[in-house]
Structures are given as C-alpha cells and as structure tokens.
C-alpha cells in the first residue's frame, strides 16, 4: 500500500502533471497533422526527456504517443488522410461517415473507444506484467537470447514488405549495434579509427534520423495534402454510450486482439487496427455495410490500436524487447533514466511501475476532454502549412540530437540515418526492423556470447532447457517461414507447366 501511495506522490508532482498536460497537447497536435506519425512525435520528444525526472520523462512518452494515436483519426475522418499509420485501417469507414453528415459521431467513436481501449490495455499491463515477471525471473541467458531473437524475427514477419528485405534490415540494425567498444572484450569494433565511433552509434539520434528526418525528406517530394473546409461540430460524445451497449462484443474483441498484438514484439498499433478491422468485417452480421460509414469496424479497430499501445509495454518492461517502434524509443528513455527494463524492475522499483500504470490511466482519461477540444480546434490546426512546421522539425532534430551528448557528431549521425531511413523505405526495407536491430543488438549479443562462454562453445544447451527449446523452435520456424512460403508459391506455377 505504501508503494502505491508513493507512486501517486510521484505522479502528482507538479513537474510530472505539467509534463503530462504539455505532452498531451503536443501529441494531439502532431498526431493530427498528416504525415507526422506518433513515432516521429515521440522521437522528437526524446531529447527533451533527457532533462526531466524519470517519471516525468516516461509520462511524456506515454501521454504523447497515446494522444498522437487517437489524434491521427481526426484528419483520417475529415480529410481521408490518416494522421498516423495506426488510423489507416479504418480511414475510409470514418470518412464515409463524414460524407453521410456524421463527422461528430465518427470522431466521437474514435475518441471514446480509443480511451476505453487504452484503459483496457493498461489493465492488461497491470495484470500480465507482474505475473510474467515472476515467470521471467527463472529465465537464464539462453531464454533471453531466444526471446530477444524471437522479437527480432516477429518484426520481420509482420512487416508489410518482403520478409527477406525485413531480415536484411534487421541484420543491418544488428551490424550498426556492433560498432564501438561495447562488446564482450571491449575491443574497438568497426570504428575505423574515429574516436567518435568508440562509444558506438547512439540509439536516439539514429531513431530521430530514421523517423523524423526521413519524414521531412519524404515531404519534400510529395505534394501538400488538401486543406480542410471550415466546419462546426455538434456534440462529440452524444450517442457513444448507446453504441457501447449496442456493440459490446466488437469492443471486447478489439481490446483483446489489440492487447495480444501489442504484446507481440515488433507488432504495433497499426497492425492491431488492420487485424481488428478485418475481424470486425469477418464476424459482422452486416458485412455489406462496411465501407459505407458503419460504426462496427470503427469501434473494434479504434479500441484495438489504443489497447495495443499499453500492452506493447509488457515485453518492453519485462525483457527490454520493444513491442513496437514507440516502445523501442521508450526503452532508450528507460535506460537513460536508470529504470533498466527487466523482471527485477517490478521488485526493486515497484513504486515507479505503479506510477507508470497511473500515468497510463490518467493519459487515457484526459484524452476525452482534451480530445474534444482538439476536435473542435481541428479545422484551425489542420490548416497549418507544411512549410511552417517541417523547418522547425529539422531544427529540433539538429538541436535535440546535439543535446543528447553535447557532440556535433550526433547531428551528423541524425543526417546519415535520415538518408538511410529514407532510402530503405523507398526501396521496400522496413525501417522498424532496422530500428529494432539497433535497439536490441547489444542485448542479443551479450546473451549470445555469455551463453556460448557458459556452454564452452557448444550450441546444444541453447535447445536443452524446455522454455528455450520452445522459443528456439518458434524462432527457427519464423526464420524458415519466408522460404517455405516462397517454395509453396512456386509449386502451383510449376505444376501446370509440367502438365
């Protein structure tokens, strides 16, 4: 009980409350601007969190990402341009409701069910994380190695591109993580004589480059999105309670699917929304209404993407394995603030964990009033020109990355990763896989080398413990899956030719 009271004291500190409020406004504004993703909003915030207390820093990341995910629904609903990839699954449905003259209802559904989904996701985090933490305490380096490797493999399988390219992106991330002296022997590795590379490639400038600079580069070559016509909205929450009672099954299913996908390493809110929308249509009694402005899919997918956001923190907090790109950034912040992820976090820093749960709850509750204000201001914010926002983002990328280490080499790192991220995305390589590789590289290598030293160079112990054998089987299955699918697809083409 005293831990719980201590957690409330941490959250109610003025700096934490101010951080929650400001990051909520920031997340709502950035998420609503087409082309600026929730990940980018979070990445740009990281240098600021460097100067905040640990709880305020985590509160900033949690609140900004949750708000940005909801806020991405606003341009999707009003302009048919999803503000964030997580809104893309149901943009057509929401826009169809707007065309039917029901923008208030569509935006209300997005807001109300996002908040409820967020609360359910937080409850899952509260229930699941301590139970899994107890189980994880018995894990050795073998299990950790397979778990981390499985996380990386999931990132390649769920990517909406060629699994081979996703695998290459992940390996490239691991190779980047090899740079520096942070290796089992402390030997300078791939530093080419540059002292700036001795400390390795900093994760935060790499993330800022891949997500923010690459986004600005992309904006340079695509036309400005169309402007939103001025309009006045009626009551946003009217009719939401009726919908909650009318579609309990869809809402529950959306929450559960969101939670499961969130826990899966590498799969984030966007995948949760796509899967839930497809499920809503599959199990609907009126699937023909989908795409015509029907609330069913919107409820299920809206609940799902925000539920996944909180549950994505389960593998991140327990094993340091990111649930998605936002938690990949959050892990960097956790390490920076001395809250090193792992099962012991729940025993040694229990009050911080409770504080984190409270922040998640608060974030989802204040989403409703702030979201209503945001929807009412949307016609003004969405009229902001790209040429007025992007230059400030470039400047923040430079100053923010410099601030993480007071070193101009970090600005060069941001520029380099901007180019890498842009080129990769243009050529069908998923940037998320690269980022997960960079974030998890040291962890995978440490567990791998420690396990090899423990086993005197033998790889048999990697498969001998029951849990590690199961994890190994799943990981190897995911590794050979693209090859199996490729061979399967080749088969019917050859059969008619032979006939």
């Amino acid at each position: 009980m005293s831990t719980f009271i201590e957690a409330w004291q941490m959250v109610l500190a003025p700096d934490v409350l101010l951080a929650i409020l400001l990051s909520a406004i920031y997340g709502l504004c950035v998420g609503s601007l087409p082309g600026l993703s929730a990940t980018m909003a979070t990445a740009v915030l990281v240098p600021v969190t460097f100067y905040l207390s640990p709880i305020a820093a985590i509160a900033t990341i949690i609140t900004a990402s949750a708000m940005a995910i909801f806020s991405g629904d606003i341009p999707g609903c009003l302009l048919r341009i999803p503000g964030t990839p997580a809104s893309a699954a149901y943009t057509d449905e929401a826009y169809a409701m707007t065309r039917k003259g029901q923008p208030e209802l569509a935006l209300g559904i997005c807001l109300w069910f996002s908040a409820l989904g967020g609360v359910f996701g937080t409850l899952s985090l509260i229930i699941m994380a301590p139970l899994l933490a107890e189980f994880a305490l018995s894990f050795s380096t073998y299990e950790y190695f397979w778990l981390a490797f499985l996380g990386l493999m999931c990132a390649t399988v769920v990517a909406r591109s060629s699994p081979i390219k996703a695998l290459a992106a992940m390996l490239l991330g691991l190779l980047i993580a090899c740079v520096g002296i942070e290796n089992p022997a402390g030997t300078p590795r791939f530093t080419f004589g540059f002292t700036d590379l001795l400390g390795g490639i900093e994760v935060i400038p790499a993330l800022v480059g891949c997500f923010a600079v690459a986004e600005v580069m992309r904006a340079m070559s695509v036309p400005e999105p169309p402007q939103l016509a001025r309009r006045k909205f009626g009551s946003i929450l009217a009719g939401q309670w009726k919908l909650t009672k009318e579609y309990p099954k869809q809402q529950t299913r959306g929450n559960i699917v969101g939670i499961i996908i969130g826990v899966l390493p590498g799969a984030g809110a966007d995948m949760a929304a796509w899967v839930s929308y497809a499920m809503a249509k599959r199990f609907s009694k009126t699937p023909e209404k989908f795409g015509t402005g029907h609330p069913e899919g919107l409820i299920e997918a809206g609940a799902s993407n925000n539920a996944s956001l909180a549950s994505g923190w389960v593998p991140s907090l327990l094993f340091g394995i990111p649930g998605d790109t936002i938690t990949a950034i959050a892990i960097g912040v956790l390490y920076m603030k001395g809250l090193n992820p792992g099962p012991t976090l729940f025993t040694e820093k229990a009050s911080s964990m409770y504080a984190l749960y409270i922040i998640f709850m608060l974030g989802n509750i204040i989403m409703i009033p702030l979201g209503i204000i945001m929807i009412r201001l949307a016609t003004h914010i969405l009229r902001a020109k790209r040429y007025a926002i992007m230059p400030v983002i470039v400047l923040l990328c430079a100053v923010g990355s410099f601030a993480t280490g007071n070193n101009l080499f970090l600005v060069v790192t941001v520029a380099a990763f901007g180019v890498i991220g842009y080129m990769m995305e243009k050529n069908g390589f998923p940037v998320a896989a690269l980022v997960l590789g960079i974030v998890m590289g040291n962890m995978v290598e440490t567990h791998f080398i420690t396990s090899l030293i423990k086993s005197d160079g033998s790889i048999l112990p990697f498969f001998q413990r029951p849990v590690s054998a199961i994890l190994a089987a799943i990981t190897i299955g995911l590794l050979v899956w693209p090859l199996a699918v490729w061979l399967w697809r080749k088969r019917p083409q050859q059969a008619p030719a032979a006939a």
Binding site: P163, L167, L171, A185, M220, S221, A388, A398, V399, V485
Partner: protein, 166 residues
C-alpha cells in the same frame, strides 16, 4: 530513389562479406574461444545470404505497392497512378540531410541563431513557402528554440555572431 533489386542485393552481400571478414579479424575474449568476433561474422553471413536472395528476387512477391495521396479529396491511389511529383523533388529530398551537415560544420563559427535561421529559411523555401513566410519563420523560430534549449534545458548552444540576451 529506387535502386534495382540486383544492385541493392549485391551491395548488401558485399557489405555482409566485408562485415564477416572484418569481424573474423577481431581477437576473442582472452582465455575463451568466443568473443567480439562471433556476432559480426554471423551477421555478415546472414547479410550475404539476404543480399543474394534479394538480388535473385526471392520474396519480392510479398511487397505491396506504395500508397500515396492522389486525388483532391485526399483519396489514396497506388503509386503507378500517382500525379506527377513535385518539381525537383528528388533534389529537394537531399535538403534536410545537407542542412544538418551544414549545421554540424558551421554552428561553432557562425553561432546558433544565424545557422538555424539559414536552415529554417531554406527548408521553408524547399517546401514551397513564400519569401515572407521563410523570413518570418527564420526570425521567430530560432530564438524560440534557443530559449527552450539553451535557457530552460541548459544545452550549450554556441553564441557565435549573434548572442542572445538571455
């Protein structure tokens, strides 16, 4: 900039081979068979395999066409039916990284405010902003960012030619 799969795959395979070779030259942990050499060698070999697979076109059937906003109402269309791109779009994409390098090279001599003003104005122009918008943004954005980072967050931003009063 789209690079053909055989060239991209070849480059990845070469990078992987170089990483594996470079890794193999590293010494193991004293008294152990393994060390910092193992991981880069494995990654390098993995990259070689991926590079060859990409060059051979394996897995390309999984790729989905890039979706872009095409129509006036913001509707999405596949990249093949997209409208003509922004003039000099390919050149303009190089602007943000070049400006970041410019910042790294000149901020110590010019100072934060002039360097940031140039960056902001050029980015604004490149994105189609007017002269008035670019100048306005260059006047107001850098001091605001300086105030937040230098004064409130204590980041040592160089004063250079134009020191700020705070």
């Amino acid at each position: 900039m789209n690079i053909p799969n055989p060239i991209m795959g070849g480059a990845i395979a070469v990078l992987g081979a170089a990483a594996a070779y470079g890794g193999s030259l590293l010494p193991p942990v004293p008294g152990q068979q393994v060390g910092p050499n193992v991981f880069p060698v494995l990654i390098g070999l993995g990259l070689v395999a991926c590079g060859i697979a990409i060059a051979c076109g394996i897995g390309s059937s999984f790729e989905q066409p890039e979706e872009v906003v095409a129509a006036e109402d913001g509707s999405h269309a596949p990249a093949e039916t997209a409208p003509p791109p922004v003039p000099y779009g390919a050149l303009k994409t190089a602007v943000p990284p070049i400006l970041l390098l410019f910042y790294a090279l000149t901020v110590d001599s010019l100072g934060f405010i002039p360097t940031a003003a140039i960056m902001v104005a050029v980015t604004c122009f490149a994105l189609g902003g007017t002269v008035r918008a670019a100048i306005g943004l260059a006047i107001f954005a850098p001091p605001a960012v300086h105030l937040i980072f230098a004064k409130l967050l204590r980041v040592p931003l160089p004063a250079g030619l134009l020191p700020m009063p705070w």
